[in-house]
Point group: C2
Chain length 178, copies 2
C-alpha cells in the first residue's frame, strides 16, 4: 500500500482507542519488532506517546540505546503475525523474515516502517526519566504515515492471553472534545 503523510495533530485519534501496535527498532543494520499494548497519548501536538516496554524484551535495550522507533498499527488481517511477534524474541529470530513482514525505510529515524500496517508513526525518545522505575518511555512522534484507502481500520485490542477484541462499529455524538 502507498502511504501518505499524515498530520501530526491528528495522530492522537489513531492511538487513543487503544490498538495493539507493532514497535520497530533498528541497531547496527538489524531490525526488530515487538507487539505492544501498553501505550497512551500524553500530548496532542507535537504528539507525545507514553509506552511501557519490559526490560526483559530485546527491544528495551535497543530503544534505550538508539532512542528511536516506529509505532506501526496493524489491522486484523495481520492477527497471526501480531501474535507471533509477541511470542518470539528478536534475540534469536529475525521476525521480519520469519513472519513475512516488509521493512520499509522511514524518513526521520533508522527504525523501519512495516509496509503491511495501515499507519506508521516515526518516533524519537523524548524522556527516559521513568525508564528506571517503570520501563516507561515518552516518545515524540516526528513523522506520521497513513494508507489513504483505509477509512475504517479494523484494529486489534488485546484483552489478555491471546484474546483480542476487533474494532466494531463507529458512532458519532455531538461533542466539544478534541
Amino acid at each position: 500500500m502507498k502511504k501518505k503523510e499524515y498530520l501530526l495533530g491528528k495522530v492522537y485519534g489513531l492511538l487513543e482507542p487503544g490498538p495493539v501496535v507493532l514497535l520497530t527498532t533498528q541497531r547496527g543494520g538489524k531490525s526488530n519488532v515487538m507487539t505492544l499494548s501498553w501505550h497512551m497519548m500524553m500530548d496532542f501536538e507535537p504528539p507525545l506517546v507514553g509506552c511501557v516496554v519490559s526490560n526483559r524484551n530485546y527491544t528495551f535495550e535497543i530503544l534505550s540505546e538508539t532512542r528511536e522507533c516506529v509505532i506501526n498499527i496493524p489491522t486484523v488481517e495481520l492477527a497471526k503475525k501480531v501474535v507471533a511477534c509477541g511470542n518470539a524474541s528478536g534475540r534469536t529470530v529475525d521476525k521480519f523474515k520469519k513472519y513475512g513482514l516488509t521493512a520499509e525505510p522511514a524518513s526521520n529515524v533508522e527504525a523501519p516502517l512495516i509496509a503491511e500496517c495501515y499507519a506508521n508513526l516515526e518516533c524519537r525518545v523524548a524522556d527516559m526519566r521513568m525508564v528506571e522505575s517503570y520501563c516507561m518511555f515518552v516518545l515524540e512522534v516526528v513523522k506520521a504515515w497513513m494508507d489513504p484507502k483505509t477509512k475504517w481500520a479494523r484494529t486489534m485490542h488485546h484483552l489478555g492471553k491471546g484474546v483480542f477484541m476487533i474494532a466494531g462499529k463507529r458512532m458519532k455524538l455531538r461533542s466539544k472534545m478534541k
Copy 2:
C-alpha cells in the same frame, strides 16, 4: 447491577484494550466525574495504571490533593452520559445529578463507584513525579469490582471529536502472552 470483587491480577485485561473510562473523585463530600481516554497499564500486579489528566480539568486539582480516584468502565449504553461528562466541568455542574449517574460507596477510597458502569477500579495515586511535566499520574488499583453478568463488554473507544468505535467481535489466538 450487583458487583463482585474482581482479581487484581486480571485488571490489566480490562484497560489494555483502551476503553474510554469515567474517572471519579471526591473532596469535602462532593463527588466529581470526568471522561478519560489517555491511560495505559504499567504493571500487572499490583496493577499500576498511568493516566494523563489535563491541569485545566477540575479533577486535576482534586486528584492531586486527595490522591484517590475510581476508574469506572462504561459500555455503549452509557454513551450519551460519557460524552456529556466530557463536555462539562464539575466546577459548575453536579454531573452525577445532571446526567443521572448513581454514586455508590467504594470500600478503600472516598471517591465513589458509578453503579451503571460494569467495572470499577478503586485507585490510589502511587507516583506524582510526572505530574509537573506531563500531568501524568501513576495509579495503583487497590480494589476491583465487576458485574458478573457482563461477559462481553461493549466498551467505547474514542477516535477523537466525539467519534467512538464500539468494541466488536472477539477472537482467540494461541499465545503465551499474558
